[in-house]
Symmetry: C2
Subunit: 277 residues, 2 copies
């Protein structure tokens, strides 16, 4: 099986891909869009992309592409703990520390405490930073990246697990081409079910009315988020995650009900959750 | 008055700042966090930060910082149309095109149509790309950045308004230290009112119950989004924008009601919206 993922190699998405598909052929793509296009074009069987709290790309890019393409569905979710490491070619004090802006932001407390006077340089990815440090051994420069990147580039970790928040995690989705709804609904009994909701109008109270269909059935909303429709300003669609146990069928009754009320529903499929330790 | 903004100079946040505060002292900060810390420390009077569809930083960073700090409020919203330009030192065909990953993504259709074989290089910001092109006139390299960046660096625009979507806009918030609620509520009659909502429990239907307080009062939800609380996985807070006309007082009654039901409310203030042409 061929698995596409948001590259470069040794990125956090690469780690998630390795955790879920260690023995499959893995192909790196430079953008989320290219990753998903390759899935539609059947160049790959599945694609792994970041959804929330991502380092290498925008979550919005993932959501918007999935909303506008009708052919794709979610096969599973991967939750990866994000641990940042400070790495260099030698253990001396660095003069420059470089990384992706989000990795730098996540390590701010550590950097302020240990390296208040070091120059900070932003790079397009954490992998880019690690690669730069490896190829410039004469410079007093350190990178913030993953343990895997340190191993891959042969760098020494001079600061371990330096992220400010131990709860730091990234959610990834494994995306496949659509299977028939009946096939996927029968598979998952524990996990989540995600769908896009477009309201019939922007009248006050419409969202409240739609959520009633889930509330009275006792279906828990794990997450709700609105995103601009891109047709005109102030028009939104919603991405909603439901926590489903053995009530997947109940959720489909709710979908039918809100559809009858004029809302548009696009189901991304019920899926299992894989938590990487 | 001193206005902090997410830099570097000539970024889209800089443009938004110039549109709202053309005659004030402007100070660039390298991260959203530093921008907001400077506001709390009274080093600046206000801060301009991106909230939605941003190029230079994460919206999540803005929301999470505002949620966790209790001292800040929203003074106004600035909506800026995002127009991408392809620029170079001379009109020849470039061999390399560089920019921020999101600017590259926004111009993908144009790049595929006009420069299918050109190498793409990601940079930490659009300003970085424009600066690189200016300082390497001997290289056949072009940058994607704003019209303002082209003017600032003396570059020639060789592709105008190349973004795929004409509706492309970024929302910015102007942040100030908190004023008394009565002061701010009396000011705005047309605009938006944003607040953070933390639910008393994760029981199914709780969100639906809370939204009822707004629905029956006829208050329109312009946007709703959930964000992880960072205490443990699956715990969320909500950021909700209300469209308020002359019903600001009504919204405060709703806040009181949901507080009595056990929810926590933090109001970011009603504010006016400035649309930049």
């Amino acid at each position: 099986m061929k698995i596409g993922y948001l590259g470069p190699k040794n990125s956090f998405t690469y780690q998630a891909t390795n955790a879920a598909f260690p023995n499959q052929t893995q192909l790196a793509f430079s953008t989320i869009q290219k990753c998903l296009e390759a899935t539609i074009a059947k160049e790959v069987d599945m694609a792994v992309i970041p959804i929330e709290n991502s380092l290498e790309g925008s979550v919005h890019a993932s959501m918007d592409y999935l909303f506008h393409s009708k052919e794709l569905t979610v096969q599973q979710e991967i939750i990866l703990p994000i641990r940042q490491q400070l790495m260099a070619t030698n253990p001396g004090i660095p003069e420059v520390i470089m990384s992706h802006p989000q990795a730098l932001a996540q390590s701010q407390a550590y950097l302020s405490a240990h390296y208040p006077d070091v120059a900070i340089v932003q790079t397009p990815s954490t992998t880019y930073a690690a690669e730069y440090v490896t190829s410039h051994p004469q410079e007093k420069v350190a990178a913030i990246a993953s343990k895997q990147a340190a191993a891959a580039f042969g760098l020494t970790i001079i600061g371990q697990d330096i992220q400010d928040n131990d709860q730091n995690e990234t959610r990834f989705w494994v995306i496949t081409r659509k299977v028939k709804p009946t096939e996927s609904t029968s598979k998952v009994t524990q996990g989540k079910l995600s769908f896009f909701l477009t309201l019939p109008s922007n009248q006050p109270g419409v969202l409240h009315k739609m959520l009633a269909a889930f509330a009275w059935r006792g279906i828990d909303l794990a997450k709700i988020e609105s995103r601009p429709l891109k047709t005109s300003l102030g028009q939104y669609y919603f991405i909603i995650d439901l926590a489903v146990e053995d009530n997947v069928a109940l959720a489909y009754y709710a979908f039918e009900e809100v559809s009858l009320l004029g809302a548009k529903i696009r189901v991304l499929g019920p899926y299992e959750i894989r938590i990487v330790k």
